[in-house]
């Protein structure tokens, strides 16, 4: 997914401003160094701030300004572009399609990632290191290349495996995963291939941080491995699970590379996702103002989806925490 390539995990980590040497240093020295510190500290951040102003804050502000301008005259038109987006059926079916996509794909992928991480962390696993490496490999494969590989493998003329169900008589013809009807599920298969190991890698690090004493205590009490996994390990890494789900929701809403490549290979449609629509609006139709409004709305939808997910999770988790408090 496009967004994740640009910024890996950590997007939503709770920020804690690090302590400075000045805060912990001796008071006298602090005064002496303060003036030069101010200059040095700011000087060190200056290159970043300059780049940030031109290539991040600039485009962001420009995008918002642009979204209020008329595509025809360039004059200020208030909310006209936003009204056009709101009445644009293709845009909203794109958003709706991503919601459907996310509910299925993120559930399957995170479920698989949790399952694999718990199995790798269990005493029944042989070859933990090798499996962990293999699952993580797709992270090193560009989404474009993943889509090209799968695009060929899902083409019945090129993949004998797709003819097997027909040959054994359980399908009326070769499977056509890239047909208009199934293309969305083909993308799910590809995205799951790309990101399951990434999420599993995050989860397994979290699992290794579960204190050994807690696990020992559970075993002394006669808990089975399944019980330990479900009742102790999983609740202890639930923040990490939530973190991976949020990253996946954001990534789903930004989906672009895979549908574009599959459309190149098999004509599955060029307006499947909001980002494809934004790209076409700006570069096929040259309507940058409308595209800017579409981008702003997509960014807002992303923030709303994230906040809504947190709200739901928090409400579900509160009774759980209350029971724990009572138990203590």
């Amino acid at each position: 997914m496009a967004a994740r390539a640009a910024g890996p995990a950590g997007r939503l980590a709770v920020p804690a401003l690090p302590r400075t040497s000045a805060e912990s240093g001796a008071a006298q020295r602090r005064r002496r160094w303060r003036a030069s510190q101010g200059r040095s500290g700011f000087g060190m951040t200056a290159p970043f701030l300059a780049l940030f102003a031109v290539f991040f804050a600039g485009p962001l502000i420009y995008s918002i300004v642009l979204s209020f301008r008329s595509p025809l005259t360039g004059n200020f038109t208030g909310l006209l572009n936003y009204r056009t987006v709101f009445s644009n059926g293709a845009y909203w079916s794109g958003v709706e399609r991503m919601a459907y996509f996310g509910v299925i794909q993120v559930t399957v992928m995170i479920g698989l990632a949790i399952g694999l991480a718990l199995l790798l962390d269990s005493p029944y696993c042989r070859g933990r290191k090798v499996f962990a490496l293999v699952y993580f490999l797709p992270y090193a494969v560009p989404g474009v290349i993943a889509a090209i590989m799968w695009g060929f493998l899902l083409e019945p003329d090129l993949d004998v495996a797709l003819k097997v169900p027909h040959l054994v008589g359980i399908a009326s013809g070769p499977l056509q995963p890239l047909s208009y009807r199934w293309a969305l599920y083909a993308i799910m298969l590809i995205v799951t291939w790309e990101w399951t190991g990434y999420n599993m890698t995050i989860l397994i690090t979290s699992l290794t941080n579960v204190p050994a004493q807690v696990l020992e205590a559970a075993k002394v009490d006669g808990a089975s491995e399944v019980q330990v996994a479900a009742k102790i390990k999983l609740p202890m890494v639930r923040r990490t699970v939530i973190f991976t789900i949020v990253l996946s929701i954001i990534g789903t809403l930004q989906l672009f590379n895979e549908p574009v490549i599959l459309n190149d290979i098999a004509s599955i449609g060029s307006n499947l996702t909001p980002n494809q629509i934004i790209y076409n609006t700006a570069f096929s139709f040259g309507n940058e103002e409308l595209a800017a409004a579409q981008s702003v709305i997509l960014a807002l939808i992303t923030v709303i989806a994230t906040v809504a997910f947190f709200a739901v999770v928090r409400r579900r988790m509160e009774p759980l925490q209350a029971t724990r408090a009572v138990a203590k």
Binding site: A2, A5, G7, A9, G10, L12, A13, P15, A16, S21, R29, G38, R39, S40, G41, G43, M44, P47, L51, F55, F56, P59, L60, Y62, L66, L119, L120, Y124, C125, R126, G127, L133, V134, F136, L137, Y139, V141, P142, G143, I145, I148, M149, F152, A161, W193, T196, G197, T201, I202, T205, S206, T240, F243, I250, Q254, F256, S267, N275, L298, A299
Partner: protein, 284 residues
């Protein structure tokens, strides 16, 4: 259930998942040895009787005046320069935020954290317009400069510096009269190196894999990275009148663009994983 049965069942499931990951990569290696006819006529998962690697290789590097060699070189340039400069900028900023107090420090930190929430793709269209205005589209620096703004990298290095570089060490270097940049270079750099390696790799892989940004910013074939170039060739597979379908070129080209990283990945895995898990585990 006996322990042995559980171990076998676990291994079987893990192997199945591993097959899901490895089958496409295996297929890519096998298929890169076939020409366009063999692709359709031979078994999908077995090598052909007569390997066509030589001809495919020749075709790949000579088609359209050897554009592919440019893409390989460009991907390398974009990724290396972005990762090197991006790591330098992020480290300098992160270290500055962690080890100095100055006016506006909180504001800068707030900007960094706030921009972690902005989906990068939301900036692509206005970035194109601004770069077009500045004459930066279709240039190397036009692709590299926006990617140097790496808020996660700054955040990562500020926490890393605060944790790893002891204040007493920095203070004693100052007492000895070292300048601030010299202190960072001589005292901070060796300690920060593991974090910088992680950041370099994340940035390198992120740039190598990037598609949307260079797709929008570049129009000349000889400036394309591999992702944009191969997607252009992939579209000949389907669009009528786009010329001969470039099956073997696209497949061998795809293999070449993932092979270096796949071969190096076992050695890099732990550094990359540390970067990914950083945000998640910090909140645990």
């Amino acid at each position: 259930m006996a322990r042995g049965v559980k171990t076998s069942a676990t291994t079987a499931f893990l192997a199945l998942a591993a097959a899901y990951v490895l089958v496409p990569i295996y297929w890519l290696v096998i298929s890169s040895s076939k020409n366009a006819v063999q692709l359709f006529n031979t078994n999908t998962f077995l090598p052909p009787a007569k390997l066509s690697w030589g001809a495919n290789f020749h075709g790949l590097f000579t088609y359209e005046n050897g554009d592919f060699a440019w893409w390989l070189l460009n991907s390398f340039i974009y990724s290396t320069v972005t990762a090197t400069l991006g790591t330098a900028v992020s480290t300098l900023t992160g270290y500055g935020l962690a080890k100095y107090s100055f006016r506006g420090r909180r504001v800068v930190f707030g900007l960094v954290v706030g921009s972690l929430m902005v989906p990068a793709t939301a900036l692509v269209v206005p970035l194109f317009l601004l770069e077009h205005y500045m004459g930066l589209t279709n240039t190397y620096q036009g692709v590299i400069l926006p990617l140097l703004v790496y808020p996660f990298g700054v955040y990562f290095m500020s926490i890393f510096s605060a944790d790893a570089v002891p204040d007493t060490l920095v203070d004693s270097a100052r007492m000895d009269g070292a300048s601030e940049l010299r202190t960072l270079w001589q005292i901070g750099r060796p300690i920060l190196m593991p974090g910088m390696v992680t950041l370099f790799l994340l940035s390198f892989i992120g740039t190598w894999n990037n598609y949307f940004l260079p797709l929008v910013l570049l129009g000349t074939e000889t400036r394309f990275p591999l992702t944009v170039g191969l997607s252009a060739w992939a579209s000949t597979l389907n669009v009528a009148g786009a010329g001969q379908p470039l099956y073997s070129e696209v497949i061998l080209g795809s293999l070449i663009s993932v092979l270096p990283m796949l071969v190096l990945f076992p050695f890099l895995q732990k550094y990359v994983a540390r970067g990914l898990t950083f945000g998640a585990v910090a909140g645990e």
